[in-house]
């Protein structure tokens, strides 16, 4: 009993230490975003500034074309459109494909799945040059459509893998009962498998969203203006009115991290249940 108690205390201490290590740099970034630049660059560092400065957030939310505000808001919108577009397409395509992998018997099933997964190993840099030239010929350079197209190629293999693993854990009897009643395979997929696969679906959505939101290299090369530029690219080019103000980068970074953070915290409990079988049978 005593030993169990000591273990429990140890585990809690470890969890608290871990939390501090994870949160500390992030909290500093939050502080930096509301510390005036004049104070931010002084030594010794004032951990808690004697004066708060919310002007960067004001600038980002209301600033016109004279600051980073307009670019940031355009990029936020672009990122949302690209991420939502990519997730939607990848989920639809992925659900169909994953069902085939999980339920249907056909030759080289495993080999085809492996080919999909292997495509993830190709470094983006190897596709960058011709994709860039092709998108240019197709008039898709600097467009959100072009970006969604190339992002889907990254996200779909992941979705296929997570979903096909999850579908396999759903008892086949459920589906068979429905099919005896005359439902088609696709009908069974929609009315029986999907409702039972919620954790897997949520885990897949979360993965897909984070991947699409985080994508940098394609966006860096394929977009060049506010029309299609996504947040990661906008942030990498962030600079203040006169000099690069770290506080402004911090404020922009925090806002850019909010959508994926919200998605992750909400869906976090599905990662484990949605992946539980996935990781094992991969």
């Amino acid at each position: 009993m005593k030993r169990a108690q000591r273990n429990s205390v140890l585990v809690h201490v470890a969890a608290i230490v871990t939390s501090v290590v994870i949160l500390a740099p992030f909290l500093w970034m939050v502080m930096a975003s509301i510390t005036p630049q004049r104070i931010l660059i002084t030594t010794p560092l004032q951990w808690i500034p004697d004066e708060l400065d919310l002007s960067r957030y004001v600038q980002i939310f209301t600033g016109g074309s004279e600051g980073v505000g307009a670019t940031f808001r355009a990029a936020m919108l672009n990122s949302i459109i690209v991420a939502v577009g990519t997730v939607t397409i990848s989920m639809i395509v992925g659900i169909l494909g994953a069902y085939a992998f999980a339920r249907l018997k056909f030759r080289f099933r495993r080999a085809i799945l492996m080919t999909f997964l292997a495509s993830y190993m190709l470094p983006q840099i190897a596709l960058l040059i011709p994709l860039y030239l092709i998108l240019n010929t197709a008039g898709l350079l600097n467009t959100k459509t072009g970006l969604i197209l190339v992002d889907c190629a990254i996200v779909i293999p992941f979705v296929l893998w997570v979903l096909s693993n999850y579908f396999m854990t759903i008892p086949e009897e459920l589906e068979e009962a429905a099919r005896i009643d005359g439902t088609t395979r696709l009908g069974a997929l929609f009315w029986v498998v999907l409702p039972a696969a919620k954790p897997g679906l949520f885990a897949a959505i979360m993965f897909a969203f984070l991947l699409a939101w985080d994508e940098f290299m394609y966006a860096l090369i394929f977009t060049s203006s506010d029309v299609a530029k996504t947040l990661p690219v906008a942030l990498s080019e962030f600079a203040g009115r006169y000099t690069t103000d770290f506080g402004l980068v911090a404020a922009g970074g925090i806002l850019a991290a909010l959508p994926p953070l919200i998605v992750a915290v909400i869906f976090q409990r599905y990662i484990v249940s949605g992946m539980a079988s996935g990781a094992v049978k991969g």
Partner: protein, 298 residues
């Protein structure tokens, strides 16, 4: 009867997989062939119309370049250190995530944060943390009396590379931990119970139950993180831009500068192909090794 049912299934599978196949391989197959083609020509501008055929010269140029080999070495170092750190810390963290904790949901929500933060944001954040003028790392260490002068953490090639690794570990360990946690929760409780009845020690339980059951998860994470680490670009782009003295120039960043800063698209393509070959070789070795270890453990 059985045979035709099977054929039906194959036909359905074909139609179900076509959209995914087109969306993925439609974007990949043609570019990969075209990269191969471009790698045999001299292309010095994105608008070039005069592109002489140079055979294997671009490959020779890459392989005879000392900068290439240095970048390759650094990339391997980055991959090896960051992946092994993430795996070890990830295992510990997974155990912690799985432990009986008050407010476990809160802990899990905190751990998910670095994973959710976009790589660019986390790189910018760490660049700020390591800043030689106003970085909080300097402030903290000097206020604690550990250093008496502010250090340029990104000012020495070796230190800078290690700092970049640190940033990568902070960002990626939670992902690894959640993958392993998924594997951990799949271990039936009876196994632990049985081991406890046998009065097995924790290290023994870990070695003879947990680790073998986790091998599939570990192998996936290992391949995934190795490939990711080998492709590392965005952290470098934001934190150091390859400096100082090219000390953080990884192979992907080198390929990027060759193609898009120096506008040497032919050599850049050849370089990309070399990277593909290395990654495929690395993954093949990995999978083979793991398959062997899996068999010996089971």
């Amino acid at each position: 009867m059985v045979r035709s049912k099977r054929e039906n299934q194959a036909r359905l599978a074909f139609w179900l997989l076509i959209p995914a196949g087109v969306a993925v391989f439609g974007v990949i197959v043609y570019p990969i062939l075209r990269t191969l083609l471009i790698s045999f020509f001299e292309v010095t501008s994105a608008l070039a119309t005069d592109t002489p055929f140079v055979g294997f010269n671009n490959y020779l140029e890459v392989l005879s370049n000392s900068t290439f080999w240095a970048s390759m070495g650094r990339t391997l170092y980055f991959t090896l250190i960051s992946t092994s750190l993430e795996l070890c810390l990830g295992l510990l963290l997974a155990g912690l995530l799985n432990a009986k904790l008050r407010a476990r949901w809160l802990f899990r929500a905190i751990v998910v944060i670095p994973w959710a933060i976009p790589t660019i944001v986390s790189a910018a954040m760490w660049k700020g943390v390591f800043n030689a003028q106003y970085g909080p790392l300097n402030a903290m260490l000097s206020q604690l009396g550990i250093i008496d002068q502010y250090q340029a953490w990104l000012g020495d090639p070796t230190t800078a590379l290690n700092m970049v690794i640190l940033a990568d570990v902070w960002k990626s360990t939670p992902l690894v931990a959640f993958f392993l946690l998924a594997g951990l929760t799949a271990i039936p409780n009876e196994l632990y119970e049985a081991a406890k009845l046998d009065r097995a020690s924790w290290p023994r339980i870990f070695r003879s139950i947990v680790l073998p059951m986790l091998i599939p998860s570990i192998s996936i994470v290992l391949v995934l993180r190795t490939v990711e680490a080998f492709k590392v670009f965005d952290i470098i782009y934001v934190m150091t831009r390859g400096g100082p003295v090219n000390g953080t120039q990884t192979i992907a960043y080198y390929a990027y500068t060759t193609a898009f800063s120096d506008q040497n698209f032919g050599v850049g393509s050849a370089l990309s192909y070399v990277i593909v070959i290395v990654i495929l070789a690395l993954s093949a070795i990995y999978l083979r090794l793991l398959r062997r270890s899996e068999m010996s453990l089971l």
